[in-house]
Symmetry: C2
Subunit: 211 residues, 2 copies
């Protein structure tokens, strides 16, 4: 694999390529040129060629990209050819929204269990996924093979929960709590800070008005 030293910016764009290629594949398109892909994705053709060259250049001059092959290859690079078992900490609205996304499952992300501190949620299910009491988290992780933990909980208890997850061997955290977790370097964290996203929108509105 020629993936060493790929910039974060390229990696950030890969899921978007994957999405567009998936849509092309679903609509029966077999080949696409960087020019056509450029029009659809509103990215320059030269950026597309540069980005995809990072992975060994799947395109051929005058022929274009083989959509299915490229879709599969990018899928492999993203690890989507593997199954990842996931748990969700927090069974409130956001946790339930995550549990209800059926298409995570079709990409290999299987939610096995949810955990919450609210006693009234214990024993309930979301789309068939059981909700356990947070006190059962450690024993559950010891007995089950889980790779990813999504944290859909408020900031207050988040750092402590993250430490528990890490002490139980979790190496990948999808963090929706609005705080930085400061975990060991071998733990992968992907943050989704919704209020920061809303502030960026507010910045755009505000800076647009100033012009």
């Amino acid at each position: 694999m020629g993936e060493k030293g790929i910039s974060k910016a390229v990696i950030k764009r890969l899921p978007r390529y994957y999405r567009y290629l998936g849509e092309l594949k679903d609509s029966g398109v077999e080949r696409i040129s960087s020019g056509e892909l450029s029009k659809r994705m509103q990215v320059t053709a030269s950026q597309i060629r540069q980005d995809l060259n990072n992975f060994g250049g799947f395109g051929q001059q005058g022929y274009g990209y083989n959509v299915n092959f490229l879709y599969e290859e990018i899928g492999k690079i993203l690890g989507l050819d593997k199954r990842h078992n996931m748990i969700i900490i927090g069974a409130g609205n956001l946790g339930q929204a995550l549990a209800n996304y059926g298409n995570f499952e079709s990409r290999g992300f299987i939610t096995k269990a949810m955990f919450d501190q609210k006693k009234e949620l214990r024993g309930t299910t979301v789309r068939g996924i059981p909700v356990y009491d947070i006190s059962q988290l450690e024993s559950y992780l010891k007995e089950n093979d889980i790779q990813i933990a999504a944290m859909a909980i408020p900031k207050a208890g988040a750092v402590q929960v993250a430490q528990t997850l890490v002490s139980c061997g979790i190496k990948a955290i999808w963090n929706f709590a609005h705080t930085d977790l400061n975990l060991p370097k071998d733990v992968m964290v992907e943050n989704v800070h919704l209020s920061e996203s809303l502030m960026r929108l507010s910045y755009k509105i505000n800076s647009c008005k100033l012009k």
Copy 2:
């Protein structure tokens, strides 16, 4: 304002500065050096100085930054000193999660109404916020002063809803639907593509294992 030509990367970091400064303020800290802020935020002190110099350099050599002043100034840059009225399209789990975030309100983002196509949701409320039928969207927007629309709906109807929003004068969309909206350039869009975020996490796990 010296904000012309500020890079996207700096703007992306501003909400994080705002969060840390808010926490410092809440814990009674009045001044902080770029060195101390650097330790807390795990960003180099020189990056902090560079970033904050974009806004006129609020720091003083040997004195540090005035936390409250910097917090307020960054807040203004982000437009958080203004009130933004918001609606949420989609009153499912995700829409409800957004409606339930009380701290959006404390930053000036006031959710006034929600819209859904499910008849059984019509007439319900979420934290006091009324849910209307999606058919009422256009008339609602004509009669009310709304600046931001959050779209917490699936991909399928998203492009059409976005066009309706834009035709009713909405200039800022917070988009959770997993598709690009391709709107006129004067419409600000902030995308939150959850499945792409999950794929980036999967990439990190996968590329880590390959090493």
